[in-house]
Amino acid sequence: MRFNLTAGGAGDSAGPTFLPSARRLAGADLTGRDRAVRWVLLGAGLVPTLMLLFLTAEMVREAIPAFVYSGWGLFTGHVFTFGNLYVTKLTVHNGVSAPHGAAYGALPFIFGTLVSSLIALIVAVPVAVGAVLALTERVPARLQPGVSVFLELLAGMPSVVYGFWGILVFGPILAQHLFPVLTHLGGVLPFFKGSVGYGEGLLTASLVLAIMIIPIIAATTRELVRTVPILAKEGALALGMTQYETAKVVTLPYVRRGILAAAILGWARALGETMAVLMISGDLLNGFPANIYSPFSTIAATIVAMLDSALTDATGMAIHALAAIGVILLVITLVTNLLGRLIIRRVSHGVVLPVGRGV
């Protein structure tokens, strides 16, 4: 028998290392039945990766005609319309034909996606980090599991329930009580000026998104805070620092990069969120929100909202156009995800950190 004692151990840089132990045996001592089972298991292990490749390839394949038709106009155009689907007249552009009047400018959706998720991030990061600090440093250990339940509850809540709450309860409350107060900021930040509407729009959706990504950021931050060396903290306290100063000088610098990674992963989640935003956004087409309370739309919400009518386009260009904005979303989320994971891997010091919704 031959043992390979190093493979898969602590030096394995290919992935997170869970235990610094020598565990993988060389393939040489597998029985015939072992080998057969290994093939079956390999097949299963390949499934997620194959799904990923298939999804990406299929999206790109569907999107190409729209990219050819619109070119850079896809990123800079303000008007997104499938054109007149009831006449047979076609517009030909760059050798690709689409229904007359069709234009696929996705800038408003790209804007809506980025801005709503960034506002969510600006709100969620301080709240999540503050809540975790309060939870780990201030709440008695006995009560901590009880309080954590709320975080788990937020993490598990389906996005349509957030949408339901946002449209029927949260949005109207905000429009009545919070937004009128915020308009006073209008002197400094002009986009706070103007009509506050009924609570369906950019700010409501962003705040709901913030609530949705708080548990993601909080879960990672909490595990990171637990890894802060206790001696450094006690040393700071022994020097006579207040707990705030200890947090500022010891804890926060230690977890800073991890929080950055958690924030990026939370951002990725907010970018791709569909149902809650669709329900609360007010669904504005072909334009930018007049102010921060106005209706808007995101890429994900637009795909759901328009897929039905896209089918009626006999040229198939409408589907291609939706695929194209989907590819834009896909690229943005994949880049943010990879970036976040890269940083997480660097800071995790061999601990398994909960990432995103648990992967």
Binding site: G8, A14, L19, A22, R24, L30, T31, V37, R38, V40, L41, G43, A44, G45, V47, P48, T49, M51, L52, L55, E58, V127, A128, V129, G130, A131, A134, R138, V139, L151, L153, G156, M157, P158, V160, V161, G163, F164, W165, I167, L168, V169, I211, P215, A218, T242, Q243, Y244, A247, A268, G272, T274, M275, M279, L307, A323, L334, N337, R357, G358
Partner: protein, 282 residues
């Protein structure tokens, strides 16, 4: 004076942190409260006996359960097998690539999965709105969780168990079955439970793969749309009348109850499996 300032800053900081904690707790309470408040007139037996055509939820409840069963049958075994491969058989480089694969898959927005499911399965393969398309789309979303939890669970089994089994000259499968899997089962089961919880809460990948109908679901895999709970929440919340909102709230409440039941089930399985593992000759 300076000391007072420092103490003041300390209090201010922790005051703000506690406020942040309150801001985290408040929404979950507010959401549950508003679900109850919006739905209480509709909370009666009719929810279970009527279909959505007559303001009940029977077909949606059955549909959601059916989708969960589908996930259990499809994503459960594939995910667990994949996790076992990654933890026990894959060479390091290949494991790294496959890990990157499932982690990246976990980051793909669910609407993209729904979109491709619709274009390819419903349209190009002519499955129509179908149970199988929905199960495949949901599987793409939950597989990463199952694979990951299985992998981590196996890697956290004490090395002594593995070494002992190898020292006995047991074949790998026997090692796996008798030594490694029993202590790992609680964590694996909790991964599957998380998968089911995600499945019951998803909407975007289902909208265009399984459609919706107010008839009770059938077991046929193709060409038959199925009703499910999250769709009722989505649709009815955007409809105008109070009655529709009540049904939406009731559906949301039922999803939460299912989630809580799943969490409870996960803990129960974990405890059972832990007791079983403790009985094993160590």
């Amino acid at each position: 004076m300076r000391d007072l300032l420092r103490r003041g800053r300390d209090m201010l900081f922790w005051g703000l942190c506690l406020l942040a904690l309150a801001l985290v707790i408040a929404p979950s309470l507010a959401i549950i409260a508003s679900l109850l408040q919006q739905s209480w007139p509709a909370l009666n037996i009719n929810l279970f006996t009527n279909t959505t055509a007559t303001n009940g939820l029977q077909n949606a409840i059955l549909g959601s359960l059916l989708l969960m069963a589908g996930i259990l049958v499809v994503a459960g075994p594939i995910g667990i097998a994949g996790g076992i491969y990654l933890a026990e058989f894959a060479p390091p480089t290949r494991a790294g690539i496959l890990r990157l694969g499932y982690e990246t898959l976990a980051g793909i927005p669910s609407i993209i999965i729904g979109f491709v499911g619709y274009i390819v399965l419903a349209q190009e393969l002519h499955w129509g709105f179908s149970l199988l398309a929905a199960i495949l789309a949901l599987s793409a979303i939950v597989l990463p969780y199952v694979v990951k939890t299985t992998e981590v669970a196996l890697l956290q089994v004490p090395a002594t168990l593995r070494d002992a089994a190898v020292a006995l000259g047991l074949p790998r499968i026997t090692t796996l079955r008798r030594a490694l899997l029993p202590p790992a089962i609680p964590a694996i089961a909790s991964g599957v439970v998380v998968a089911l919880a995600i499945a019951v809460g998803e909407t975007a990948p289902l909208l265009y793969t399984v459609g919706f109908t107010s008839q009770d679901p059938t077991l046929s895999l193709f060409q038959h749309p199925i009703g499910y709970l999250t769709y009722v929440v989505y649709l009815n919340a955007t409809l105008p009348t109070k009655l529709e909102h009540e049904v939406a709230g009731a559906a949301g409440l039922l999803i939460l109850v299912m989630l809580l039941a799943l969490i409870g089930l996960g803990r129960l399985v974990a405890r059972r499996a832990a007791r079983y593992a403790a009985q094993l000759p160590s």
